[in-house]
């Protein structure tokens, strides 16, 4: 089922504009991630789609061809996974998963069959008759997902489904969740503040900031062609390079950096993974710290940037320069990000 959001906004009674008028379409079976820092309006948008929040007048939400804007939450047939999971503590795993079918008066035989099927898919069959409090965080998360998909919802909504787990578990469950979502083939909207989560799970990512959609696109597009400074910073931690322009080059404190053509009047950003140690490099700097982190060294280099900030670089070699060493760096002009000046940058 396609999900379409048109001109949808939310102003809270105290005047806070949580969501500015927004248009968004999620295709049939697509997994879209709403990504942004806390307070950017992503959860508000999710709750509006669910019907838990009433949007401002003029807003329109469509499930397929049907306008559901005025439809109560219990009649929208959405599945939702809450951040806290909100499992019913008075029920067993099986009763939790079967709840949506039971309140819709699905006959018991059919209900049992569907519940068994979903428990199997979510690898919960062995825990079916346990009370939900007796489960680990990861298992509870799977129960929440199983409960949401059991009634075959039109749209599946997930509100930070991994954030209640500890970091080690989160990484392993991320790929598992992505695999399960694909298995269900339900149109899904997934809210997160963690870019790694969004990149791993989503078909497309909608980056939000201060109640506004910044850019919607495939993870690769957002990474390689961010539309704004905010997106560049938020996905892949790009940092700005500022300096005098000189005939197609940028003059930094550490030296001269050649830019691509047509880069005049555009802000220049760079990511740590685009910076290479190169004896022939045009930039010079002094290593402040060098930290080994498995696949690469994370170098912090001073005296390159004009504003006095440290330049972060990833160095994949087997040995790294020591703190205090002077190094030469190069950045390929095609690895730099060139962004038009936009008012919607971070503040």
């Amino acid at each position: 089922m396609t999900l379409t959001v048109k001109n949808t906004a939310k102003t809270f009674p105290d005047g806070t504009r949580a969501l500015l008028p927004t248009d968004l379409t999620v295709g049939e079976g697509e997994i879209l991630s709403l990504l942004g820092p806390s307070g950017c309006g992503k959860t508000t948008l999710l709750r509006i789609i669910a019907g838990l929040e009433q949007p401002d007048a003029g807003s329109r939400v469509f499930f397929g061809e049907t306008d559901v804007t005025g439809l109560a939450v219990e009649r929208r047939n959405v599945g939702m996974v809450f951040q806290s999971y909100a499992l019913f503590p008075n029920m067993s795993v099986r009763a939790n998963v079967g709840y949506g079918l039971k309140v819709r008066h699905v006959p018991k035989a059919e209900r049992d069959r569907r519940v068994d099927e979903v428990l199997q898919l979510c690898r919960l069959a062995d825990y079916a008759d346990r009370p939900v409090q007796a489960l680990s965080g990861g298992q509870q998360q799977r129960v929440a997902l199983a409960r949401a998909v059991a009634p075959r919802p039109k749209i599946l909504l997930l509100d930070e489904p991994l954030s209640a787990l500890d970091a080690a578990l989160r990484d392993s469950l991320r790929d598992e969740l992505a695999a399960m979502l694909r298995q269900f083939r339900i149109t899904a909207v997934f809210v997160t503040h963690d870019q790694a989560e969004a990149l791993a799970i989503a078909d497309r990512i909608a980056v939000m900031s201060e109640g506004e959609l910044q850019q919607v696109g495939a993870p690769e597009d957002l990474y390689h062609a961010p539309a704004s400074a905010f997106v560049a910073r938020f996905i892949g931690n790009a940092i700005p390079l500022t300096g005098e322009r000189d005939n197609g080059a940028l003059i930094l404190k550490g030296g001269r950096l050649e830019l691509a053509e047509n880069s005049a009047n555009k802000e220049v950003y760079v990511r740590a993974e685009s910076i290479r140690l190169d004896p022939e490099g045009s930039l010079a700097g002094v290593v402040e710290t060098a930290v080994f982190s498995g696949g690469h060294y994370r170098l912090a280099i001073r005296d390159v940037l004009s504003d006095g900030a440290l330049l972060q670089a990833h160095h994949p070699g087997k040995t790294a320069p020591k703190s205090g060493d002077t190094v030469r760096l190069s950045i390929s002009p095609s690895d730099l990000l060139y962004l038009s000046d936009q008012p919607s940058g971070p503040k």
């Binding site: 019907g51 838990l52 219990e74 939702m80 909100a86 019913f88 008075n90 309140v103 819709r104």
Partner: protein, 263 residues
């Protein structure tokens, strides 16, 4: 084992205090079971006085039980939704309402009864009916039900539980019955036992509101002390104990359980 002097002293003080409190109760119970209180235990044991109490005051016992059950029904019907409404809409108005419901706790029962008499005393059919006493009991016990349920509701994230039930297709009444009530059950149970115990034991208010034809258990107790021989009054006390003590114990158990959840 070698115990210190102070250990023995503490034990002695404890036992003495306990005896000081328990001996009169035992004596009273025994008085209800002896043939003659003035001749003491040597006159022999009998159930005669208990039978006499039953003959004289069976109506009071049944009225008290009936009142307690009715009071429980009314406080459940009013109190549980009221607690739910207060928990759903936290704010200054809810605080004020909660305090208002709790007012009968602070106002003496006698004053409450006087107010009821002043207002409704002239409505003869109501004044002489058992429902008049019921109104007094409900006023007095409602805050216990509301607070007990409210405490348990506040301790859980019932709003998110309800939202998740709503996304699964449950309508508001279904959510109330399948999510709110079962999860608030420890609070409801603690509140219910408190209401029944208080209603059966209530004297102040009931004494003001009762008519000669409507005596509850405690009012009958006062009546028997005033007008019957000591053995009958003591036998009455025994019956009262037997009814109220198990209730009291159940109430303490249920309240402790609800408090553990509320923490």
């Amino acid at each position: 084992m070698n115990r210190s002097f102070s250990w023995w002293l503490q034990l002695a003080v404890t036992l003495l205090t306990a005896a000081f409190l328990i001996v009169p109760a035992i004596q009273s119970i025994l008085a209800g079971l002896t043939v003659s209180y003035f001749r003491g235990l040597s006159s022999g044991l009998t159930l005669k006085w208990i039978t006499r109490v039953w003959e004289l005051y069976a109506d009071s016992i049944f009225l008290s039980l009936w009142l307690a059950v009715s009071c429980l029904v009314v406080t459940l019907v009013i109190g549980v939704p009221a607690a739910y409404a207060l928990a759903r809409n936290p704010g200054r108005l809810s605080r004020v309402l909660e305090e208002f419901i709790s007012l009968p706790l602070a106002v003496p029962g006698l004053a409450l009864a006087l107010a009821l008499l002043q207002l409704y005393g002239t409505v003869t059919g109501f004044r002489t009916s058992w429902t008049f006493i019921l109104v007094g009991h409900v006023l007095y016990t409602l805050p216990f039900m509301v607070r007990s349920v409210l405490a348990v509701l506040m301790a859980m994230d019932f709003k998110t539980l309800e939202e998740s039930a709503a996304t699964l297709g449950a309508t508001a009444p279904t959510r109330f019955w399948t999510i709110i009530v079962p999860n608030a059950m420890p609070g409801i149970l603690a509140g219910a036992l408190t209401v029944v115990t208080l209603s059966i034991g209530e004297f102040n208010l009931t004494w003001m509101l009762h008519t000669p034809y409507l005596k509850t258990l405690p009012v009958g107790l006062a009546d028997s002390y005033a007008s019957m021989r000591l053995e009958v009054a003591s036998a009455y006390t025994l019956i009262f104990f037997v009814m109220i003590v198990p209730l009291l114990m159940a109430m303490q158990w249920a309240t402790a359980r609800a408090q553990r959840i509320a923490q």
